[in-house]
């Protein structure tokens, strides 16, 4: 047995993550020491400052390709792109988290320790929301960044927990409908912990098979290991369960609609955009680096999962009556399209990255608009309440219609260009069956989106049509960013396609 040596550390490569983790730790100190009245301003500027500084560090690092801290972190083109995407989507979703005009005190509860509907809970109704959400968001984003560049499975497990644990908490912090919010947190937590236990047991079996948990080590171990192939197959299957759970693939998707509906809408937006990017970043890296050489064994299984995800997601989306659940099932179906990119391996890495950005911005814009439709009870998310909103709020309805058409994949929106890029690269990688199922399921999926559009414009308003609230600049900026990116990537996608092409393949040495 060897002694333990301190590995060489390249701090420049780790700088983006160190900045965001550092800002999160400072945020905890601000909670402890800053006076209550000042915390909100300090936290918002600290969070945005930390994320922007992290983004700058990523841009400075853009040509870096290095494996550091003893193989724990692999910084490469796709990894840096994913980190940048997560930070940018995180900054945008921060606009929703920091919004305080739509609801007195913001979307988060002041003191989560008060039991729901107790006397203390009623007293705190008018108090400003907790500012702990900002460091929690930063920890989640930093964990996602680490997840996308982890070079071994242990780092990946730690990063998975680092970004999941804050999300579990954030889900339970809604100001309104606290019982539903807590229930969402409980469900997400129990199922998430269950899935990460599978992930970890898979890591343990792969360690037994290859003698190492580094992704490149497993890649080589596959070719020369003397252990039984059952260890490899079982390890890979359990590992994939953990990853597919986070990516919300069928049959590991059951948590998605409940958690998306119960969580505060800004957190739902963060999960739909950033967690999706992180989960697929991890999936792409694991399958492209560690298991590319065994692709023949797992591709049929993952292709089946992709088909199930696309079909079940799009069909169940049709039956939904709540806009947040509808968007949740649409996110399941979109996970299926992204899985087509994972199955296609190296040929589709670039278009998967493009898809993550395009989908992330559209979904952020859509959830930002969901936060605006309100009545005295808070957000009115039931679709029947949305009937006839086009009469009173034409601008809102027009923008929402545009985003829905974007999701449906109408030309001149990012939904079309991203699906086209993904499916054409999958076609080139000989995944024609998957592409055909994908196109058919996106036709089915267009129906619920168009149903919402018809509901907005053509249906007569109900007796108690909720109002569309006027938000502050923050939510306006989020909606603007969502709509603008959906349009720009639909009309002129080439600059982003160039960037993802420059990012190149995952570093597999």
């Amino acid at each position: 047995m060897n002694d333990i040596q301190l590995p060489a550390i390249d701090y420049a490569a780790l700088l983006p993550m160190l900045i965001v983790f550092g800002a999160a730790c400072v945020g905890i100190l601000v909670e402890a020491f800053a006076p209550r009245g000042w915390r909100f301003v300090i936290q918002v500027s600290l969070t945005i400052g930390g994320l922007v500084a992290g983004l700058v560090a990523i841009i400075v690092n853009r040509d870096l390709e290095i494996t550091t801290i003893g193989g724990a972190v692999t910084v490469d083109g796709p990894g840096l792109f994913l980190q940048g995407a997560i930070i940018i989507l995180g900054i945008v979703s921060l606009g929703l988290i920091a919004e305080r005009r739509l609801e007195r005190g913001g979307p988060f509860v002041a003191e989560a320790a008060h039991a729901a509907n107790s006397d203390g809970d009623k007293r705190q109704e008018r108090e400003p929301g907790a500012t702990e959400v900002f460091p929690l968001t930063l920890f989640a984003i930093a964990g996602m960044m680490l997840f996308c560049v982890s070079g071994d499975l242990l780092t990946m497990f730690v990063a998975l927990e680092v970004f999941s644990l804050p999300l579990y908490l954030l889900c339970g912090l809604a100001r309104r409908r606290r019982l539903i919010s807590q229930e969402a947190a409980l469900k997400y937590f129990l199922l998430g912990a269950f899935a990460s236990a599978f992930f970890l047991y898979g890591v343990a079996l792969l360690y037994g098979y290859a003698g190492t948990v580094s992704l490149t080590g497993i890649r080589e171990g596959v070719l020369q290991s003397e252990q039984s192939g059952i260890l490899l197959a079982a390890g890979l299957a359990l590992l994939a369960i953990g990853l597919l759970f986070k990516a919300a693939a069928v049959p590991f998707h059951v948590w998605t609609p409940d958690v998306y509906q119960g969580a505060p809408t800004p957190v739902t937006a963060l999960m739909a955009a950033c967690t999706k990017a992180a989960a697929f970043g991890g999936l792409l890296r694991v399958f492209n680096v560690a298991f590319e050489t065994t692709a023949w064994d797992w591709q049929p299984v993952l292709a089946t999962v992709a088909i199930l995800t696309m079909v079940v997601g799009s069909i169940l989306a049709v039956a939904q009556t709540d806009i947040k659940r509808l968007l949740a099932y649409s996110s399941v179906a979109n996970a299926g399209y992204l899985l087509v990119g994972v199955v296609s391996l190296n040929g589709a890495v670039g278009s998967s990255l493009f898809y993550l950005i395009a989908y992330g911005f559209s979904v952020l814009g859509a959830f930002a608009m969901v936060t605006l439709v309100r009545d005295s009870e808070g957000e009115a998310t039931h679709l029947s309440r949305w009937a006839g909103l086009g009469k009173g709020s034409p601008l809102f309805s027009a923008l929402f219609t545009f985003l829905m058409l974007g999701f449906a994949g109408i030309p001149l929106t990012s939904g079309f260009t991203s699906k086209f890029a993904l499916f054409s690269s999958a076609w080139d990688s000989d995944q024609s069956v998957l592409v055909i199922v994908g196109v058919l399921s996106s036709v089915v999926l267009a129906f619920p989106y168009l149903k919402v559009v018809v509901l907005l414009w053509l249906n007569p308003p109900g007796e108690e049509t909720p109002t569309v609230s006027v938000p502050s600049m923050l939510t306006r900026a989020v909606i603007f960013a969502g709509v603008a990116v959906t349009f720009v990537l639909g009309v002129a996608p080439s600059f982003l396609l160039d960037i993802v092409a420059d990012a190149g393949p995952f570093l597999a040495k």
Binding site: F157, E161, L169, F189, A197
Partner: protein, 99 residues
């Protein structure tokens, strides 16, 4: 004594944990079953470290313990808050979100 027995023991523990998560109704017990699964993975890691003759697996077990401890903090906080609101920690009672 061959280390294979430890692998079998770990697999049995993992299965007990997984079945427990699926059949038990109390959130605390469900959570304990998840911890059982994590510790089964730890036992597997340590056994394979012994078989492979490297320290990596043992070090990984320490990482997992720290992560599991952090998970306990978050999990108990969530279960506590839902228990105080509902006076029940049963996962069957938390049924507002469906369809």
């Amino acid at each position: 004594m061959t280390p294979d027995y430890y692998l079998i023991l770990a697999a049995v523990l993992f299965t007990i944990g997984a079945v427990g998560v699926l059949v038990r109704r109390n959130a605390i017990v469900v959570f304990m079953c998840v911890e059982l699964m994590l510790n089964a993975a730890n036992l597997t890691l340590v056994t394979f470290a012994r078989i492979n003759g490297s320290l990596d697996g043992q070090i990984m077990a320490f990482f997992v313990m720290v992560v599991a401890a952090a998970e306990v903090v978050i999990g108990l906080a969530i279960i506590m808050s839902i228990f105080r609101s509902r006076r029940s920690a049963s996962v069957d009672d938390a049924n507002l979100l469906k369809y």
